[in-house]
C-alpha cells in the first residue's frame, strides 16, 4: 500500500488524496490479452464477462476529496452515460464512509489526475468491477479519518463512532472536514472488515439518481454544452462515400464567407473555423473537396459478404459430436436468420471542445475512453501525453459509440491552427454516415431431435462484420491469434449445456466501413437466432417452449441461475402458450457476461402491425446495488431492443450509408414502448454482475416467437416485418 497527500498551495480547499493500492484484488482483466492459453478457453472466459477492473495496482483510479464544508467529492474513473454508475458508486462510498449520500458529489476524473480508467467505460463492468475496491477504499478512509479524529479529540479511536460524516465519542465530535484540516501526514491502516450486506443503508436500495436534478433542470453537463471564452466553431469536410480518401480541396469559395476565421488544410482532412456553428457549416459546404473513391458500394455487395460459409470459420464452442451428427443425416431441422446493419443513433452527436495552448491541450468531450482520447490527441499534436488534459463530461448516450473519438483530434488540430478554443461536432448526417455500426449478421441454425423430443445435437454458425477487431479499444491486432471476434459472437454460444452435442462457429467478415461495439455487441442478433430456433424446435418436439428450455439446462451454478430466471419470468407473466385472438406471449432467454435474463413479450398483430403491450423480465445480476437503476436499465434495454429488432436498418445506396436522419432511420417512439414492463430481480450470487447490456438479449426473439403464435409466420429477419 502507498499513500500520498497533497496540499495545493493557495487553494482554499484542502485536498486529501488517497491513491493507494487498496482493493485491486480483482486484476483479472487483461489476462486474456497477454496470456497464451488455449483459444477456446479464452472464449469461454470472455463469455463469462467477469474481467472487469483494469486499473493498475498503484493507481486504483478512484479518489476522494473532503471539503471543509464536510462534503465528499468522489472522482470517478468511469463516465456516466445514463447507466447510473455514478449513483451506484455514491451509494457504495456513502455506506462504507458513513456519510449521507447527499453529501457525496460524483465527478468525472480528468485525465490530468492520472486516475482515469486505463481502458474504458463499457461492457457492463463499472459497478461489478468497482464494488469491492470502492468499498474497501471507503472503509479504509473512514478508519483513517477516525484515527486522525482520535488524535485531534484526544479520545481513543475505539470509543469513537462515525455517522453522517461526523465522528463522535467521549462527549466530543468532529466532522470529516474538520478532521482533514491541517493534516499532511496520514497512516493507512489495513483494510477493515466491511459491513454486512444487511447493514447497508444505500447498497441494495432504490436510491434516486445522483444526477437527477441536473438532468431535469437542463444543466449544461454534456460535451456539447462545454464552452470557453472566445470559443470558435469548427467543421470538417467528410465524404458521403464509403471508403473515400481525402486527396485535396479547393477552398476559394469558402475563404471569404461570413464568419470564417480560417481554413485549415491538413494532410488527411480539410476543415474550417468560424465564429458560429452556422457559419462554419456554411463555409464547409462551400469547400470543394476531391475524394478518391475506389468502389461504389451497394447494399447487395454487403449482403453477399455476410453469409455463413464465406470467410474464415473459427469454432468458438464445442461439446460432443454435433458436426458429425448434423452432417448428412435424416431429420435435421435447419433455419436461417438475419440481422441488419444498425446505428447507435445516440442523441448527442460526437464532438469535442479543444483548447490548444502551446505545448498543452485541454479537451472537453463525451468519451467512453478517456485514456485513448488523450493518447490520440497527444500523438497528433506531437506533445507529451501528460500535457493533454481530457475533461470527460456527461455523455448524451454512449452505447459503445464513444469508444473511439477522432473528433477530439480534429477539434485539437483546428484549435491549434487558430490559437483559440474550438468546438467541433458532427451534424446528424455525418453522425449516421460515420457511425461505428452494429454489424449485420447471418445465422445458420441446425439441430436434430431425439425420439423423446429432446435436442440431440445443435449447431450455430454466425457470419458477422467485425466488432472488436480493428477497434481503437483493442489496439493489438488479435485477429490472427483469436481468429473469431469476441464481440461478434457475444451471445452466440449455447447456454443449454445439457444438450449433449453442441457447437458454435463464427465466420469473420471485414466490411468496407467501420462496424464495432454497439450495446451488448452480438448478443441481440445471436440471441434472436438461437432463441427463435429454440422456439421452432420446441414446436417440432411438441413441447411447451419454457419447459423445453428448462429440459436442456445443465445443473451447475450458471444453469441453476438460468433456470431460476426462466421459472420466475414464466410465473410472473402467467405464461400461456398459444394465441388468444390476435394476441399471444412469446418467450426467450439469454445469458450475457454471466447474467441470465428471461423475457416474455405480450404482443398483438393487427393487419401487418406488430404491437408489444407488455414485457415481463426476470434477471439475475447478483447483487443489485440499486434495484431501481437495474430496472431502468432493463426497461431501456427492452425499448432499445424493440427499436432495433422491429424498426432499425441502415443500408447502402449509391456508395453511401443511409438513412442519414431520424425518421427514415426509424426508431421506437413513445407509441411503440410497452405500457407495462414487469421486472423480477433475483440474486443468485453474492456480488454485483453485468446489468447494462444483458437484458437487451431476448427481446427480439420473444417478439418474433409471439408473432408466430398469432400468425403462424416465422419471422427470421430483423427488423421484424409481416409481409
Amino acid at each position: 500500500m502507498t499513500e500520498n497527500n497533497k496540499k495545493k498551495k493557495g487553494s482554499s480547499r484542502r485536498k486529501f488524496l488517497v491513491r493507494t493500492a487498496i482493493g485491486t484484488g480483482v486484476l483479472l482483466g487483461t489476462g486474456y490479452l497477454t496470456r497464451h492459453i488455449w483459444r477456446r478457453t479464452i472464449f469461454t472466459e470472455v463469455d463469462k464477462g467477469e474481467s472487469p477492473y483494469l486499473g493498475d495496482a498503484a493507481t486504483p483510479g478512484i479518489w476522494f476529496e473532503v471539503t471543509p464544508e464536510n462534503e465528499v467529492i468522489l472522482y470517478s474513473p468511469k463516465v456516466e452515460m445514463g447507466q447510473g454508475t455514478h449513483t451506484g458508486l455514491a451509494q457504495i462510498a456513502a455506506d462504507e464512509l458513513e456519510i449521507d449520500i447527499e453529501k457525496i458529489t460524483v465527478r468525472h476524473a480528468e485525465s490530468v489526475s492520472t486516475n482515469v480508467d486505463p481502458f474504458a467505460t463499457g461492457g457492463s463492468t463499472s459497478i461489478m468491477g468497482l464494488f469491492q475496491p470502492l468499498r474497501e477504499l471507503s472503509a479504509t478512509m473512514r478508519e483513517m479519518l477516525k484515527n486522525k479524529a482520535a488524535e485531534k479529540l484526544g479520545v481513543a479511536a475505539t470509543s469513537l463512532a462515525v455517522a453522517n460524516g461526523v465522528i463522535s465519542g467521549g462527549g466530543k465530535s468532529i466532522t470529516f472536514g474538520e478532521v482533514v484540516d491541517g493534516v499532511t501526514d496520514w497512516e493507512v491502516p489495513d483494510v477493515p472488515p466491511l459491513k454486512a450486506m444487511k447493514d447497508y443503508k444505500y447498497i441494495g436500495k432504490p436510491v434516486a439518481r445522483v444526477d437527477l436534478h441536473d438532468k431535469v433542470v437542463g444543466a449544461p453537463i454534456f460535451g456539447m454544452d462545454a464552452s470557453l471564452p472566445g470559443m470558435l466553431f469548427g467543421s470538417v469536410c467528410r465524404s458521403e462515400k464509403i471508403g473515400a480518401k481525402y486527396v485535396g480541396a479547393d477552398t476559394t469559395a469558402a475563404e471569404n464567407m461570413p464568419g470564417v476565421v480560417k481554413i485549415v488544410k491538413e494532410k488527411d482532412f480539410v476543415g474550417v473555423v468560424a465564429k458560429s456553428y452556422q457559419e462554419a457549416e456554411n463555409a464547409k459546404n462551400a469547400i470543394e473537396v476531391e475524394w478518391k473513391v475506389e468502389r461504389n458500394w451497394t447494399s447487395q455487395d454487403i449482403e453477399e459478404m455476410i453469409e455463413v460459409g464465406k470467410g474464415k470459420p473459427v469454432v468458438i464452442q464445442k461439446e460432443g459430436k454435433a458436426k458429425r451428427i448434423l452432417n448428412n443425416e435424416e431429420g435435421i431441422i435447419s433455419s436461417e436468420y438475419k440481422s441488419p446493419l444498425g446505428a447507435h443513433a445516440q442523441l448527442e452527436p460526437n464532438g469535442a471542445l479543444a483548447h490548444v495552448e502551446g505545448e498543452k491541450a485541454t479537451v472537453y468531450i463525451s468519451t467512453q475512453v478517456v485514456k485513448i482520447t488523450q493518447g490520440e490527441v497527444a500523438d497528433r499534436l506531437g506533445i507529451a501525453t501528460e500535457n493533454v488534459n481530457i475533461k470527460p463530461t456527461f455523455l448524451g448516450g454512449g452505447f459503445g459509440r464513444r469508444l473511439h473519438t477522432p473528433n477530439a483530434i480534429q477539434a485539437a488540430v483546428l484549435s491549434k491552427a487558430v490559437g483559440k478554443p474550438v468546438k467541433c461536432f458532427f451534424n446528424r448526417k455525418e453522425e449516421f454516415q460515420n457511425d461505428t455500426f452494429r454489424p449485420p449478421t447471418h445465422h445458420l441454425m441446425k439441430a436434430k431431435l431425439s425420439d423423446d423430443g429432446k435436442i440431440e445435437a445443435i449447431e450455430h454458425n454466425v457470419s458477422s462484420g467485425d466488432v472488436m477487431f480493428g477497434s481503437a479499444l483493442i489496439p493489438v491486432d488479435l485477429s490472427g491469434f483469436l481468429g473469431a471476434d469476441v464481440g461478434a459472437w457475444r451471445g452466440g454460444m449455447f447456454q443449454y449445456k445439457a444438450i449433449p452435442n453442441h457447437r458454435a462457429v463464427s465466420w469473420r467478415v471485414k466490411l468496407p466501413f467501420a462496424t464495432s461495439w454497439w450495446r451488448s455487441l452480438g448478443l441481440l442478433a445471436n440471441t434472436f437466432a438461437i432463441e427463435s430456433f429454440m422456439d421452432e424446435l420446441s414446436i417440432s418436439a411438441k413441447k411447451d417452449p419454457v419447459q423445453f428450455r428448462l429440459d436442456h439446462i445443465q445443473d451447475d451454478l450458471a444453469g441453476n441461475r438460468l433456470k431460476n430466471v426462466i421459472k420466475a419470468c414464466a410465473e410472473k407473466a402467467g405464461w400461456k402458450d398459444g394465441a388468444e385472438g390476435n394476441r399471444a406471449m412469446g418467450f426467450a432467454a439469454s445469458t450475457d457476461a454471466s447474467t441470465p435474463v428471461a423475457q416474455i413479450a405480450e404482443v398483438s398483430v393487427e393487419g401487418n402491425q406488430i404491437k408489444v403491450h407488455k414485457v415481463t423480465c426476470a434477471m439475475d445480476p447478483g447483487i443489485s446495488v440499486n434495484p431501481d437503476q437495474v430496472k431502468a436499465q432493463i426497461e431501456g434495454c427492452i425499448i432499445m431492443g424493440i427499436s432495433a429488432s422491429m424498426f432499425e436498418k441502415m443500408y447502402v445506396e449509391d456508395g453511401s450509408l443511409a438513412p442519414t436522419i431520424y425518421g427514415p432511420y426509424q426508431m421506437a417512439q413513445m407509441r411503440h414502448a410497452p405500457k407495462e414492463i414487469d421486472v423480477v430481480l433475483l440474486q443468485g450470487v453474492d456480488k454485483p454482475g453485468a446489468v447494462g447490456e444483458p437484458p437487451i438479449g431476448p427481446i427480439g426473439a420473444a417478439i418474433a416467437n409471439a408473432v408466430f403464435r398469432i400468425t403462424g409466420k416465422r419471422l427470421r429477419e430483423m427488423p421484424l416485418e409481416i409481409s
Binding site: 452515460m81 445514463g82 447507466q83 447510473g84 434516486a208 439518481r209 444526477d211 437527477l212 436534478h213 441536473d214 438532468k215 431535469v216 433542470v217 437542463g218 444543466a219 449544461p220 453537463i221 454534456f222 456539447m224 454544452d225 464552452s227 461570413p258 458560429s276 456553428y277 452556422q278 447507435h344 443513433a345 445516440q346 442523441l347 448527442e348 452527436p349 456527461f394 455523455l395 448524451g396 448516450g397 454512449g398 452505447f399 451534424n427 446528424r428 431502468a632 426497461e635 431501456g636 434495454c637 427492452i638 425499448i639 432499445m640 427499436s643 436522419i661 431520424y662 425518421g663 426508431m667 421506437a668 417512439q669 413513445m670 407509441r671 411503440h672 414502448a673 410497452p674 405500457k675 414492463i677
Partner: protein, 158 residues
C-alpha cells in the same frame, strides 16, 4: 438583423443573420445550454422549446420568426426554486438516463398539458413524438400522467 423577443421572462435583443435557427441563438448567443441539438432537421425533438406557449423544434425555426414573441426554455420552465409539475413528476419517476433528450421531452409535455390537462395514453402517443435512445418512454408515460395530477392539484390549491 436585430431581433427582439422575451426569453424566460426577460427582454432580449440579438444581432444575427435572420435565418439563424433559434436553437443556436439560445445556446450560443444567449448561453442557455438546456435546449439540445440532436438532428438539425426537426426530426428528434431534442431542441423543443416554447414560442408563445407552443412547443416548437428550435433547430429548424429561423430567428426572424420570433420577433416580439415569448420564448420559454427548460431553464425558464420552473419558477425560481420551485420546479414545474413536469419536472417534479420526472424526478418522482426517476425518468432520465443519459438525460440529453429529456429537456425536449419535458418541454413537449408541458405544452401538451396546457392544452390537454388530463391526457389519455393515446393523447400522449400522438403528441409526444420526440426520440429517446436510452428508452425512457415507459417511465416518461408514467411521469406525464403524474405531472397532470400534480398540475391539477396545484390548480385546485391556488
Amino acid at each position: 438583423m436585430k431581433i427582439s423577443f422575451t426569453l424566460n421572462g426577460t427582454a432580449q435583443s440579438v444581432e444575427v443573420a435572420e435565418n439563424t435557427p433559434l436553437l443556436w441563438v439560445v445556446r450560443d448567443v444567449l448561453d442557455l445550454k438546456g435546449t439540445k441539438f440532436g438532428c438539425g432537421k426537426a426530426a428528434c425533438g431534442a431542441c423543443t422549446l416554447h414560442v408563445d406557449g407552443e412547443a416548437i423544434r428550435s433547430c429548424s425555426y429561423p430567428i426572424k420568426m420570433v420577433e416580439g414573441k415569448n420564448i420559454t426554455t427548460i431553464e425558464g420552465l420552473s419558477s425560481g426554486d420551485s420546479l414545474h409539475a413536469v419536472q417534479q413528476a420526472w424526478k418522482e419517476e426517476i425518468v432520465p438516463q443519459c438525460g440529453y433528450c429529456q429537456p425536449g421531452f419535458m418541454m413537449a409535455t408541458a405544452a401538451m398539458l396546457d392544452k390537454i390537462p388530463n391526457p389519455t395514453d393515446e393523447d400522449i402517443d400522438k403528441n409526444i413524438q420526440n426520440i429517446c435512445r436510452c428508452g425512457t418512454y415507459y417511465r416518461m408515460r408514467k411521469a406525464i400522467h403524474r405531472a397532470a395530477e400534480i398540475k391539477a392539484a396545484e390548480a385546485s390549491d391556488s
